[in-house]
Amino acid sequence: MNFYAIRAIYLFELARTWRTLLQSIATPVITTSLYFVVFGSAIGSSMNQIQGVSYGAFIVPGLIMLALLTESISNASFGIYMPKYSGTIYEVLSAPVSYLEIVIGYVGAAATKSVILGVVILSTARLFVDFDILHPLWMVAFLLLTAVTFSLFGFIIGIWADGWEKLQIVPALVVTPLTFLGGSFYSIGMLPELWQKITLFNPVVYLISGFRWSFYGVSDVHVGVSLAMTLGFLAVCITLIAWIFRTGYRLKN
């Protein structure tokens, strides 16, 4: 293993976060705070409890997931798209590094950023609503697993994208809708029966449900299913990345 290379990529990528601190951390925190103000306080005060949890507390795991997914994808996709766009990727390709090391460096940095962000949002949320975390270890496990999985997914998007537009299109057209419809703001038990069935095809449902279970012990689907789905998605991403590097897809001619 070329640990110096992993470290170099990892630190170089994280350095970009500190340089763009406002954009990387402050923006998502402000956005999430706005959700709390609107949904948690303004609307939530006139809502009933869901599955025995106050509405304000109920949306906390969903909102963290929402930020985690979008930020993991955008951090990782930007991280690898940028050197492709500016041409500096030549150096990484000509360096004595394995594909695994490249992925650990870039995806590790992106995932680290989103975990930091997730923790910051969690702390921010605590200022607005009162909640406890029932299974803290599972909470951390879901947080890490989701950050890594979706950073991998973002990495794939960054390699696939050959323009700025494509870089934005998957997060905007696929991920954000799936997250909103995945039960960030409601329990899927509140949907009409047909939609309850349809919504089970949305992978984000399982992430949010599992994450919420680690907070309150209540979930839409069994936590084992949530875990299995998350791991399954992780496996799909790893397979895709292995294929990308084996064929040199969009990286090497």
């Binding site: 110096y4 170099a8 500016s86 500096t88 000509s94 040199g248 090497k252 001619n253």
Partner: protein, 309 residues
């Protein structure tokens, strides 16, 4: 001696069907400066990119210091530094951060002392905290060189190092290349400035349409192909050469004011004396004589055009 880079039967066809390299065989000797000359699109950059790992090779085998570039890519690549043709850089990073990054990427432990000396040698030390986008074009190119040298490579590739570079920087760059060679670094440079190859290289390879058409010591090349020319400035213009003087190696230029005789400078019998006698016999008076050796450029042009059927 084992060559530091050995290329055997390498070819490359891009997915578009474009055949960029056709069966390249080439050995680079340790410690030499090798210039790869060729017109645009001849395959220079493709060849370099394959050796450095940026482009997937076709068939054939490339070894760097005995390490296969595919199987033992780590050993092979850690010996190579590459300065690409275009100025790619992380614009918002500082010079210091980007050079440090490159060193780590190539698997070397941090060594602030070495990097400091490197930046000083390249006159970049004062600018170490500047962001790259603030630098001038010449400085950006030196940053690329610093990145390539950050991991103390044994082999340095310079792809068109002086394209679009001013005269002073070009001189500095030549100076730097010579110093590196003194330290035992093997240097492979591509160029279409013949002047550069002539000035710098120990050996020259000429590539054309994906084929190496010639590899030769620079001196031998100049000797072998180096023709001399005798230019005779006439007192009175000639409309045509007199019949007695019509031959292949003699031509009339400048509206008949100049007579050019091409001969082989290596031979004892240059034919110069005979020609002058003949001119006297024909009553052709001249006011001046000049003899010159053909430059690498003349050789190159004649080579490339000769073989373009």
């Amino acid at each position: 001696m084992q060559p530091v880079i050995s290329i055997q039967g390498l070819n490359k066809t891009y997915a578009s069907g474009h055949s960029a390299l056709k069966t390249i065989d080439l050995d680079i000797r340790k410690g030499e400066i090798f210039a790869l000359l060729g017109p645009n699109g001849a395959g220079k950059t493709t060849l370099i990119s394959i050796i450095c790992g940026i482009v997937n090779p076709g068939e054939g085998r490339v070894q760097v210091a005995g390490n296969d570039i595919v199987r033992d890519y780590r050993a092979a690549r850690s010996k190579i530094g590459l300065v690409p043709q275009e100025l790619f850089n992380e614009g918002f990073e500082s010079v210091w951060a980007t050079v440090k990054f490159s060193r780590g990427l190539f698997g070397k432990p941090a060594n602030a002392g070495y990097l400091e000396q490197l930046l000083k040698d390249l006159s970049l030390w004062e600018k170490r905290d500047a962001r790259i986008f603030e630098l001038s074009g010449g400085m950006k190119r030196r940053v690329m060189i610093a990145k390539a040298l950050s991991h103390e490579p044994e082999i340095l590739f310079l792809d068109e190092p002086t394209a679009g570079v001013d005269v002073e920087l070009r001189r500095n760059m030549w100076e730097m290349v010579r110093k590196l060679r003194e330290r035992g670094v093997t240097i492979i440079l591509t160029t279409h400035y013949i002047e550069e190859a002539e000035e710098m290289a120990d050996r020259i390879g000429v590539i054309r349409k994906g084929e190496i058409i010639l590899v030769e010591d620079k001196a031998t090349l100049m000797r072998k192909l180096g023709k001399k020319q005798l230019t005779v400035h006439l007192q009175h213009p000639l409309h045509a050469l007199p019949d007695a003087l019509v031959r292949d190696d003699l031509s009339l230029r400048d509206d008949g004011y100049t007579l050019v005789y091409t001969f082989d400078g290596q031979r004892d019998e240059t034919g110069v004396a005979e020609l002058l006698q003949e001119l006297a016999q024909q009553g052709i008076a001249f006011k001046d004589l000049q003899s010159s050796e053909s430059s690498l450029e003349d050789i190159f042009v004649s080579l490339v055009s000769e073989r373009s059927e």
